[in-house]
């Protein structure tokens, strides 16, 4: 592992640790309002200042980190599992089943990702309680993000299906689900792992875009997308540059994930 990747891993570990220890680390609760100090500049009491309603920005950033960094990988796991199942079945079975699954994947891949997200999000209840909005947002990311990985997994499963050890297992009487579970799926593990690493930064950025558009996690629960809405007011950012702290953290974390992502195979 190169020193740059080691550094990226260290940064991610530290940010994750801070997010997970939000209850102990954050100076205040994310929803606590200090009404005597709205839009306060950074001080000893509020290291990153406060927002328009007097909430401590640092506390919200730490809690928001927990929401974004725990749920984005959870959504990535869900997307990778769905991709593994559908792509694995498509590649293994071939024929009509493969055509149907790949056609559906083509459709999902063709549609602009953000357009697909906001369309499906709009069809779900919009005025849900904040905690439910967190689950809805990330569940959506997980369930809609399967198509790209499924195509890669399908192509790999197709190659594995034709390999000697699979033919030998088939000749020895192994077949159906047993062959898929014991011989095909375990060999898809490296591809699934790579797809997981690729999906995490994509989902973090998607949540940020959704939050920016007001279709992400609901107030007062903080997430990186929601926190980025604060920078919508350009004049306020010019006067209070510390409002850019969530963006800086987002760029650093997504950059670290990109560094840890295995390089793409361009021959496929």
């Amino acid at each position: 592992m190169s020193s740059l990747r080691r550094l990226a891993m260290l940064i991610l570990v530290l940010v994750y640790a801070a997010g997970l220890a939000a209850n102990w680390l954050a100076p205040a609760h994310y929803a606590a309002q200090f009404r005597d100090a709205p839009d306060a500049a950074p001080s000893r009491k509020f290291p990153l200042g406060t927002d328009a309603v007097g909430r401590d920005v640092l506390s919200r950033l730490i809690y928001g980190t927990r929401v974004s960094l725990v749920l984005a990988p959870a959504a990535a796991i869900l997307a990778t599992m769905v991709a593994g199942l559908l792509g694995g079945v498509a590649g293994y079975l071939g024929g009509g089943m493969e055509a149907v699954i790949l056609r559906a994947a083509d459709l999902f891949v063709s549609l602009p990702w953000l357009f697909l997200l906001i369309t499906v999000r709009a069809m779900l209840p919009l005025n849900v309680p904040p905690v439910e909005s967190v689950l809805v947002t990330f569940l959506l990311l997980g369930l809609l993000g399967w198509a790209g990985p499924a195509r890669v997994v399908g192509a790999t499963a197709r190659v594995i299906r034709r390999q000697d050890f699979v033919l030998q297992a088939r000749a020895s009487g192994s077949g159906g689900f047993r062959l898929l579970a014991l011989h095909v799926l375990p060999n898809l593990k490296p591809i699934l792992l790579a797809q997981f690493w690729i999906s995490v930064p994509v989902f973090i950025l998607s949540e940020a875009n959704l939050g920016f558009l007001g279709l992400g996690v609901g107030e007062p629960v903080p997430s990186w997308g929601g926190l980025l809405r604060e920078i919508e007011n350009v004049q306020a950012v010019a006067a209070n540059p510390w409002l850019l702290a969530p963006l800086a953290l987002l760029v650093v974390v997504v950059g670290c994930f990109h560094l840890l992502t295995p390089p793409e195979d361009y021959s496929k």
């Binding site: 056609r103 559906a104 083509d106 459709l107 891949v109 063709s110 549609l111 602009p112 990702w113 953000l114 357009f115 906001i118 369309t119 499906v120 999000r121 709009a122 069809m123 779900l124 209840p125 919009l126 930064p201 950025l205 940020a208 875009n209 920016f212 558009l213 007001g214 279709l215 980025l228 920078i231 919508e232 350009v234 950012v237 010019a238 963006l247 987002l250 760029v251 997504v254 950059g255 990109h258 560094l259 390089p263 793409e264 361009y266 021959s267």
Partner: protein, 294 residues
Amino acid sequence: MVLHRLLRACVSTGLTILLGGLFAATLARFAPGFGVDEREFDPRRGVASLQDLRARRQAVGNIVSYYGGYLARMAQGDLGVSQSLGRPVAELLAERLPVTAKAAGAGLLLGWLPGLLLALATCRPSKTLDLAAGVLSALLLCLPSAVVALALLFAAPTGLRPSVAVGVAVAIVVFPRVLRFARGILGQVAVAPHVQMASAKGVGPYRILIAHILGPALPSLLALAGVSISVAFGAAIPVEVITDSPGIGQLAWQAALQRDVALLTSLGILVTTITVAANSLAGVVQDCLRQETA
């Protein structure tokens, strides 16, 4: 052979669009609030009138008949009426699509040109250029498109036209993706034996770049071009919202917030048609080029 491929691509595109429409119609059919008719609360309506309304609703309750009816109306140019804007959807799309198409087209051109040129430049061994290209693409890939649009508004001179801002923002979103993938594609071709042989035979660097690297990489670059259209349309949504540009990205956002199902369904089919057609076309040209090379 080309005609056969074109025909196959057309059938495949049509099927994907129909599937996209079915997906959009299914979402619309099962969205909360579907089938609620305010006319039922009108106290002036009698029992027979109410029964008639319910019977009509039941007729479109089945997803197949609902989608069938939608397609039949669409064939006649009737895409319904937008609930939130109170205007025919076809009229709205005709008005907004050119705005996004122009901005996205300009953005694609502005993103592709420097992206491809820089990727080509990195084919020649230069550590500094390689590092600069890597850092630049990695940094821009870490930014949400909404933030790119906002940064542009912040940095741009006052009075910048929204469509120009959208074009530049889309270019900033497309550029790092083109650079990253084009570098990968060209980098793989650059180390191929035929390039090394050409270099050993004394072929000039520009000729190697154009004839021996860019030529064989063209099919993969075309596939990337198809995908980048989808990226540009996706980026246009937050960018148009932030820059207040009246394109289909902003329309999609408004429709999503207002739960305007008719508008969202039609937008879904329109965007699917554009992106699938572009990808299919890229696929056909890619196949033809590969066949020619073989």
